[in-house]
Symmetry: C2
Subunit: 274 residues, 2 copies
């Protein structure tokens, strides 16, 4: 009989996203906590989540989480903004491990950044419709005013590889027109694809507007919770586990994923959720 290591801290951190974008969140987690074992799931067969209903996104999020829970995880990260906006409460109810979304960390980062108490949020249709960022920001500091804009074309633009193209600049200018006039000094990039548009968005919004994304602050939140619960894995010098699963096209994930994760991305295996 094999010896099974039952130490809780050796268990994996599970991270899921509707597709590839959540790798930016995983990247920050592995940077801050390099000795933690991780398993990532990208639901590339049903991507995107951002244009779908709350009911459907909730159902998908639960299926994604169930898959990761079967990999013996100690903590679940919802790297997808839309799934975080719609499904966190449901996930917290269904699973008895800590669940972290990207909305609360992003909201905290935005409230910390603004000097004029005016924060803009851009995201998918679902994320904006849910008002999740506005609710979280108001909860942290009711004095902060929020201004929102859904940008449905940003994800396909990034996927097309046109993030720094003049076409991206024209589309971004259209979407950001009202936000530019709103007097915000902080803009939340409320979708994991948007950090790849930073240069384009920044050129439009100007130096006076700080761009905030959730990845780094989500990693900090992961560390805090693991530490609070005595679950941090400080490593034993052995190899760190980095598993990747997708529900469609592992080859494409490997190629496009490097844009988001950089070196260190392993080949993904195909996952069947249904």
């Amino acid at each position: 009989m094999d010896m099974i290591d039952t130490s809780k801290s050796k268990k994996l951190i599970g991270v899921f996203d509707s597709g590839i974008g959540g790798l930016t969140v995983l990247k920050e987690i592995t940077r801050l906590l390099p000795t933690e074992n991780t398993v990532y799931l990208g639901d590339t067969a049903r991507v995107p989540y951002g244009s779908k209903s709350k009911e459907t996104v909730e159902r998908y999020a639960v299926e994604d989480a169930k898959f990761l829970v079967r990999h013996n995880i100690k903590l679940l990260v919802t790297a997808c903004n839309t799934a975080s906006a719609y499904a966190i409460a449901r996930l917290e109810n269904e699973f008895d491990i800590p669940v972290i979304g990207v909305i609360k960390p992003g909201a905290m980062a935005a409230v910390a950044a603004t000097r004029v108490n005016r924060v803009g949020i851009i995201g998918t249709e679902g994320t904006i419709k849910s008002s999740a960022y506005c609710t979280a920001i108001k909860f942290i500091n009711p004095a902060v005013s929020t201004f929102v804009q859904a940008c449905p074309l940003f994800v396909p633009l990034v996927e097309e590889g046109w993030a720094e193209d003049e076409i991206a600049a024209i589309i971004a200018a259209r979407y950001l027109e009202d936000l530019k006039k709103s007097g915000i000094d902080t803009l939340v990039l409320g979708c994991t694809h948007y950090p790849l548009l930073k240069k384009t968005i920044s050129a439009i919004m100007g130096d006076g507007v700080m761009l905030v994304d959730s990845a780094a602050s989500t990693a900090v939140e992961v560390k805090r919770i693991l530490s609070d619960q005595g679950l941090l894995n400080n490593g034993d010098g052995g190899e760190v586990v980095r598993k990747f699963f997708v529900t469609d096209s592992p080859e494409r994930f490997y190629v496009v994923g490097r844009r988001f994760f950089g070196e260190g991305l392993n080949q993904a295996e195909l996952a069947f959720l249904e």
Copy 2:
């Protein structure tokens, strides 16, 4: 016990698509065959198919078809170009009713239209990658040369409602740059969303290029097959059945669907395929 009409011709024509676009095909079918009963399924929970793998699109197409077959259909129409490109052979194997895709009718229309034997095809990544239109066109007339271009941003552009916007014009100009130089006189709009971009595409390609889509010729093919098999329903003056199902957001389908189908679109019911 109710009297059940077992007459084969009274059975429904089943039409499926990855989402809303297939309504353009259904519209042509109902225009040509107004007394036929129809059932439509839009897989809006897993849309789009165009960026996904052959294996996944095949699996989805079979699930879509199984759902329609449960509604007692006499003929199956794959209104989605990507599903037609990847899954027709599989569907023909799995089901014992006639299966019609949009590729062959579109290819026939293009071959009939070209005077210089040079045809362009635009479509999703999947449709272009499959070479299905090129294969079909070469099969009909080997003398015809084909020129292809995937246009991944066209569907999100139409869904955003920007089909006739200056942004659409800029994106279309980029995608069509090489096709414009290729000497084609016929361009296949190889995706059900693209007819909504006709004005924009036509302005770039010029009057010398005929735009062909599959909807009308697919309807003609449906009529031919039903007629050949003695399955045409000439109606008995009773009410015609028009059922609509989607896998996500029936409300959104009703609103956006009217852009594709016009009046006569009924409320859709939610369908569960898995």
